[in-house]
Amino acid sequence: MNEPSKIVKTIASIIFPFITVYGLYIIVHGHLTPGGGFQGGAITASGIVLLLVAFGSAEIAKKIKESHLSILESIGALSFISLALLGLSATFFYNFLAGSNFIFGRIPPFGSNPGDMNTGGVLPLMNISVGLKVIAGLSAMVLALALFARLKRGRKGVRKK
């Protein structure tokens, strides 16, 4: 397989920051506009997959390790379940920040409004942790598949049982 041309690499590196910023915007505005942790995380991960395609998996694997991504994913998942566990004063998954006037604690006026970042209780925090988890998880998955395909290409002998 040939190396991708210089045009592809240049365009990919120019576009990548925009994709990332757009994905992060979708994640943090999840409680105000369409979107959320999963959608934004998938967009951001697609930026990383773009880099993977443009520069080749070996190049990317030098910078990002699968095991690090796996740890990052665990941290995202742990913060998500911890937020749920923190509600145990009432019940599992209780939204303890809503209406508390603490961070993200405001209640918006009923009906149409322009949207206020500082609302939603634990929802924005959960969006961020799920976003982190999805970015790390999807990139780790694609990286593992790409690296595996690369590793085996050179080998002739197919191992049978």
Partner: protein, 89 residues
């Protein structure tokens, strides 16, 4: 023989699906919407989020979302486990 049995099951299944779509309520006119109406009316003052869908995803049905995040986590762990390197390689 086996193939014919699968084909018959497949045809019966298809007929069931098509007949379902024919007798289901008309498109765009949901009948009993108590649960959804409650969520639309109360999402703002109970969770503080403007987006009712996000309030369902992370608050009313947050446990499903935890399960969904777990599914993704499981799949990543599974892919990494299946494609791992072995000790004798």
């Amino acid at each position: 023989m086996n193939k014919i049995a699968i084909l018959i099951a497949f045809v019966i299944f298809s007929c069931a699906l098509i007949s379902t779509t024919l007798i289901l309520r008309p498109f765009g006119e949901p009948e009993s919407t108590d649960m959804d109406d409650y969520i639309i009316k109360n999402a703002q003052n109970e969770t503080g989020a403007n987006n009712a869908v996000t309030s369902v995803v992370f608050d009313y049905r947050g446990f499903d979302t935890l399960g969904e995040a777990t599914v993704l986590f499981t799949a990543v762990a599974g892919v990494l486990a299946v494609l791992r390197r072995y000790a004798h390689e």
